[in-house]
């Protein structure tokens, strides 16, 4: 039996939607505190919204899981929780190994830093030392194809360049799990092919991946398993036939 690399148990994520304008200024907040009703009036008229509810699923080594579902079904929230960007409200996730995440476009790059500096920063965030990154530097640059713009601050990058560089770093840090939000749609078709090639080789390297896609074609080509979310709940989880 293979060991699960990600085990998600009873995961829930609660957001509190406030229908009254939330006090964004200190003054409004203090006013609310001393006004009638006291602190309680601030949270009045808020509504609980479960972006994720009772999610249970596992991903084994070598598996490539596609998350599908409509907009607002909780796919991106799930990736954010797996990536530790936002904490879960209930349940827990056990992750065996290193996670490399690409959440939306503009993933974790420092706008003012150059491409070169961001490679090292991103590598550090993914748990690689400078020496390790130096060893991988050429491969990353080669894969990304942004060599000419390495010393340009990434704020001047096009969204395509951004994604290419981000994907290249994530692909080269020896992560056990790659978590990819719908970023692949941004690159041109040549780069997309490169990424597909990389993702479909994951199994050989005993790596896993979780990705979001709205394209049935991409899901068919890459996924070994499919999980469908609707209204924050997992409504279908099965091996891809």
């Amino acid at each position: 039996m293979s060991t699960p690399i990600i085990e998600i148990t009873n995961l829930g994520k609660l957001y509190r939607l406030s229908h009254r304008t939330r006090p964004d200024s200190l003054k409004a907040y203090l006013k609310g505190l001393v006004g009638q009703g006291g602190a309680r009036s601030l949270s009045a008229e808020s509504e609980d919204f479960w972006a994720l509810r009772d999610i249970n699923l596992t991903v084994d080594k070598g598996q490539c899981l596609a998350l599908i579902g409509k907009n607002g079904s909780g796919k991106s929230t799930l990736l954010k929780v797996i990536s530790r960007v936002t904490p879960p409200s209930t349940g827990c996730i056990r992750v065996r190994g290193k996670v490399a995440s690409l959440l939306e476009v503009g993933t974790g790059f420092h706008h003012e830093l150059t491409g070169r500096e961001n490679i090292f920063l991103n590598g550090a965030m993914l748990g690689c030392s400078r020496a390790e990154m130096q060893r991988r530097f050429d491969a990353i640059v080669e894969f990304s194809g942004v060599e000419r713009f390495l010393d340009t601050p990434v704020k001047h990058y096009s969204s395509g360049m951004y994604v290419r560089l981000a994907y290249s770093v994530a692909a080269h840090v020896d992560a056990d799990i790659m978590v990819v939000d719908e970023v692949l749609a941004v690159g041109d078709s040549e780069f997309q092919q490169k990424c597909f090639g990389h993702l479909s080789n994951l199994r050989k390297r005993r790596q896993s991946a979780i990705f979001v896609s709205h394209s049935p074609d991409i899901v068919r080509r890459l996924a070994t398993h499919v999980a469908e979310l609707e209204g924050g709940r997992l409504i279908n989880f099965s091996p891809f036939a």
């Binding site: 530790r84 879960p88 349940g91 993933t107 550090a124 690689c128 400078r130």
Partner: protein, 281 residues
């Protein structure tokens, strides 16, 4: 949010607050992020700024000259101190300069890095700590100006200089504690960003920078000491200018207590709230 690297490399992500030990381990595991950010900021400050290190010394020097003129010439203050008056002023200007830059930098750090925090994980506390650390490096460098001024006046500090690091640490701890508080408050209440620079510009006048605590009327002195920067500045003066400034024990005690309370509560407050930064938006 908890994430622990257990022996077999399992990370557990759940909604609980991490223990302090785990929090520390996590911070250590991500030290490379801090290193890259500090390194990069130093390069920008020293390479791209035309005058580099000279510029760093120029700003406190100008501040010292203006204050010496305003307080010294107009109010004839310099006659009351045994050490050269500009040195007295510098002992106040350098820590003031550090705090008045480190605190707003620390405060803004979380909001200005939100776009990164929303996309990747690393211990959030790294962001305000890096903002303060960069100012600490400038703070240390700025004492070069004091050394040059000492050479100019032929002044040699006494044995008390051995205690100087303690006061510098107090200043750094105060800047760190306030940055932790304010960076988190600023993420929640944006008008904190308007309030603090205003408070800092007012605090300048109730901090003994162009004057000394001894020149403050006795009955007002304990009021001044509510401001820990007063104790820090007086402590630095005593350690560098020696005998002319008696060790202000009550000032030291209150400053140390206030600084430690700020730092410890700041750490506590930040750790409690850091996982919600992204959801505060």
């Amino acid at each position: 949010m908890v994430a622990s690297n257990q022996p077999d490399n399992i990370t557990v992500i759940d909604g609980r607050l991490p223990s302090w030990a785990r929090y520390g381990r996590d911070l250590y595991a991500y030290r490379e992020v801090a290193r890259v950010l500090i390194h990069r900021d130093l390069i920008v400050r020293f390479r791209q700024a035309f005058f580099g290190i000279a510029w760093l010394l120029f700003k406190p020097l100008m501040m010292m000259l203006v204050i010496s003129l305003a307080f010294g010439l107009i109010s004839r203050f310099e006659s009351q101190t045994a050490a050269p008056y500009p040195l007295v002023v510098l002992c106040g200007v350098i820590p003031w300069y550090f705090l008045s830059n480190a605190i707003p930098d620390g405060m803004n750090s979380i909001v200005s890095h939100l776009h990164i925090l929303q996309k990747t994980y690393f211990p959030r506390i790294i962001i305000p700590l890096v903002a303060v650390a960069i100012n600490v490096i400038e703070f240390i460098t700025a004492w070069l100006l004091f050394a040059l001024a000492c050479a100019w006046y032929g002044f040699i500090p006494g044995w008390q200089v051995a205690v100087l690091p303690f006061f510098l640490l107090l200043a750094v701890a105060l800047g760190t504690g306030l940055s932790l508080w304010l960076s988190m408050l600023h993420a929640r209440f944006r008008d904190v960003g308007n309030l603090i620079p205003f408070l800092i510009s007012i605090a300048f006048f109730v901090t003994p920078i162009g004057y000394t605590l001894a020149s403050v009327p006795e009955r007002w002195r304990h009021f001044f000491l509510l401001n820990p920067v007063a104790g820090i500045v007086e402590g630095i003066r005593w350690s560098l200018l020696g005998g002319t400034f008696p060790p202000p024990l009550s000032a030291l005690a209150s400053a140390t207590a206030i600084v430690l309370a700020t730092l410890v509560s700041g750490l506590w407050f930040f750790r409690r709230n850091e996982s919600t930064i992204v959801d505060m938006g």
